[in-house]
Structure formats: C-alpha cells, structure tokens
Assembly symmetry: C2
Homo-oligomer: 313 residues x 2
Amino acid sequence: MRAPQRVGRAGLPERVTIWEVGARDGLQNEGTVVPLAVKLEFLDRLAAAGLGVVEATSFVHPKWVPQLADADELLAAMTPRPGVRYPVLVPNERGLDRALAAGVRHIAIFASATETFARRNLNRSLDEQFAMFEPVVGRARAEGLTVRGYVSMCFGDPWEGEVAVDQVVAVGRRLVDMGCEQLSLGDTIGVGTPGHVQALIAAFRAAGVDLADLAVHFHDTYGQALANTLAALESGVTTVDASAGGLGGCPYARSATGNLATEDLVWMLDGLGVEHGVDLAALVATSVWMAERLGRPSPSRVVRALANADSAD
Amino acid sequence: MRAPQRVGRAGLPERVTIWEVGARDGLQNEGTVVPLAVKLEFLDRLAAAGLGVVEATSFVHPKWVPQLADADELLAAMTPRPGVRYPVLVPNERGLDRALAAGVRHIAIFASATETFARRNLNRSLDEQFAMFEPVVGRARAEGLTVRGYVSMCFGDPWEGEVAVDQVVAVGRRLVDMGCEQLSLGDTIGVGTPGHVQALIAAFRAAGVDLADLAVHFHDTYGQALANTLAALESGVTTVDASAGGLGGCPYARSATGNLATEDLVWMLDGLGVEHGVDLAALVATSVWMAERLGRPSPSRVVRALANADSAD
C-alpha cells in the first residue's frame, strides 16, 4: 500500500499548514557540511513537492552552526517558487541586517522558555533575551516582514527538568506582545506527551493567544512526536513543524534525535483526510535523495517503508 | 529527564493493561535463534518489570517459525511469577494438545480479516479459517482456558489494499460468538491512522462487542503506532499490545518492521497519568540486555534515549 485508507474523524482542522524545517533545523545538526548546490536542490524539491513554507537557513553566527555559514550565498542563489514562503532564522540585529540585505520577507527568532537554556544557548538570562529580540522584531515588522517566535524547551529542559506551563505562556505572551505573529511551541528534547500538549495550548488560549497564531514543533526523541501532533490537532492547532525525512541529528548518536518526519505526518493527515497540499511520493523521493547525500538512511518510518516498497517493485 | 512531566487529560481510561508480545510476536521474526536460557530470562525480566500479561511462545509448526520450536521445553522450564498471565499462541488442535499438555491456561488464536492473508498465512479461505478455530476454541473453553482472538490485517492488506471496516467486524464478531473473550485488532502492516482506528472500534461497539473485550495491536511501519494507540485510548480501549524494545523484525530490513515499543507506550501513559504497573527503568534495562543478545540496537526511541542517558552518566 502506498497510501493509508482515508477515514476522517470529527474535531480536527480541515487543513493544516506544514512548516518544513528540514533545511534549517534538520541540516544544522549535520556534522558534514552539505554543499550549497545540494541545499539549493533540496529547497527546490521541497517546494516542488507542495510544501508552502520551507524554512531556508539561519543567520546564526557561523562559529555556532558552520553548516549554515553559506546563508547569504544560498539566498542570493535561490530561485523561490511562486507562493512559497522561505523563512529564515534570525538570532539578533546583525542577523536581521543580513536578512534584509538578502531580501528575506519572513523571519523567525529563537527564544527559550527556561532560564538555563537561555543562558546556555543565548548567553543571556530569561529576561535579557527579550531585550535582544525587541529591536529585531520591531525593525522587522517596520520593514513589513512577518516574524515567528520559536519557544524552545516548552515541555521539559535537560538541566531544569519539568517546565511549568505558566512559564512557557509568559515567555510566549511576551513574544506576541513584542510583535511575533506566530509562536512555534517546541519540545526541543522530545519529552512531552499528549495531555501536556493540550494543557499548554489551552493555557495559551486562556492567555488570549489565538489558535491560528500557534504552531507545534516536536522532536521524536521518545517516540511521542506524532501522538503529540494528533493531540495538538485535536486542540485546533493548524500549523505543524516537520522535517523532511526526519532530519535533525543522527538518530543513533547520543542526545541527537530527529524532528517529526514530514512524511510520517503526511501519512497520518492523508489517513485522517486533513488537507496539506504535499505530494507524498515526491517528498519521499526527495528524502531518499537527501539521505544518499548524507550517507545514512532516513529515520522516517514512511520513507523507509516506501523506499523499500519501491526497491521491491 | 528520565520521565515525562505528568499532565493528564479527560476522556482516557484510568488504567491500561499492556499485553506484552515481545517474546512471541517480537522474537518470531528474528532470524537468529535465541537460546532457551535467554528466552527464559527475557520472560522473567518482563514479568519482574511489572508486565502482567507476557505472551510466552507459540505452538505454530517449527517449519514456519523455527525460532519458537522450543515452545514445549520453554514452558516446562519456565517459572511463572504469581499473578502474571503467560498466554501462548495456538494455531490449531495439535497446538492446543501441546498447550494443554504444558499446562497453559491462556491461549490466543490468529485469524485473518482478509481472504488473501487467510490463504497465504493459514492456507484456508476466510470462511474455512473458522472451521479450523472452532474446535480449538470450543475445547479450550471447555477446559477452562481463556481464549484471545487476534484479527490480522484490520487496517489494510498488502495484496488487497484497503480493508472494509464491516469485513473486519464480521470476522471479529464470529470469533466472539465462537467463544473468544478478547479480540486483538491488528494493524499487521502498520498502515492505519487514528480516524480509522476509532471508526473500527465504534463499529465493533455497534456490533455489540464490549470495549473491555477489545485490544489493539499496532506495528510502527509507517510511524503511526503510538498516535493510533492514543486514538484507541480515546475510544475507551484498555488493553494495548506492545513489544519490549520494539522487537518484531529488523527495522532496517525490507517489509520487516517492529511492533509498538512497550517503552514508548509506557512513556506516553506515564505522561498522561494512565496507570499500567510497569517499571520503565527495569523494562529499558531488559530491552538493552536483549538488544545486546540480538546484536543490534533496539528500535524503541525511549530505549535509545534512556540507554544513551545512562551511558552519559
């Protein structure tokens, strides 16, 4: 079987926007630097497969993410497809300058829900991170850009352990008030479970954040990513982050595990009859091609199953 | 983090029975025959970890499953733990004779929801399979044994493609009428999605089968197993099949993919606050130990994450 039987159910959105993060969140964890030409082909194949939002790269300092040191070159060389958004991660004002120079129209900032991760990842306190983001978001909005706010460690923190829902909402609320049009609630270490997901979404709604302004971002470290996505859809969320082929760190290396695989998400949405616009076969072919470039199999179960089915033909 | 944050949600069962199939459904797909002593230790460690139902072996003909050719020896040598059930798969009357001789108290039969799989797996038509099961179930019940009926290919069939819900219910209903106390609805090839799961359960309820008499059995071929389990719990199912470490065929080989990993299920249930009685650390240690015996890493995400965390201590 190349597709699931379609049996819908009540209480789910009719349509979901998949926010494809493979080329940024996926590749940034790859040790081997991927050539620019491969990145360009990857981005174009993702867009050609029907993904309407393809996060392209990041303007984080090359010292931290050497993989994405070619962000300026990549954006200069990229041919965008009509109707497709190519957001770029922007860590600070220097990054925003580069994004504006490159003609970027959609940016994302990366915030932490916890004190420890703010200090470790941003070298700032939880409060200080907002001072860093404020001019970025303000200037970006003044230039007519859209701004997404990633909130990381929403469901647990490797140093602090449990993270209070109220704390996550307080961080997200400040980002919305600052001008972020969408929040992506990230389970950076993959520990969350479906009740937690629904409680967090309910808390954001209670704090006055619209469902349309919330996205979810799950990692599959503990195998929970797709169940958590189902829970988020049940709560009415309509934007889901995913990574083609489950890219996002080698699944066999310590502490480095992948994002929710876009293909596994698409399979579930196809079965549920939820529209998404992606051509699964084209996406699987793209992930198989990318896995060959990276020299290891995709961790996506759907990619493995369908690639094996193809080779058995 | 060694445990998820506990955030329950309404509408789920308070307690779930995990029906552990690793020693039977898991091992039967392993090419290398596992020594009897290892199997005995595996069964005992599973029971010691708190699993209350540990499927022990199968009396299928050794020609078909050489891995379980030692079923009689295994049952003779096994020391059952008090309060733990050790069901055994019984394909036919000859198997039942062996089970009765071994003092087995709980058996399972294995039926097909589709014509093609009945012919390929049982060498009988869909209708003829019932004639084979009838004396097995009748005699077993007369001897005071409990009988579970596995229904395979409930969500799709590799040869027939889509499988109608009504057809699955008709097969399951005949097994219940014959005397099966529980049905295990199997997604043998892992293609099902959550709406399909809920539709099938609703159809069984409409056909007069109690929720308490339904179990679900998911394979993770397309990454859907845990999301489907969540859907089944939402529908009120309280028995879930799972395999320690995700045993059930090598995840890297064509068409052979694992069962839902017990550890990944336990992680979700722990987060949801649904009781199950299993000690996750003891179970992970068992799966790590078993993976070493089999010479390859467990496909369970939780096992990999926690085993890596341990080695990082």
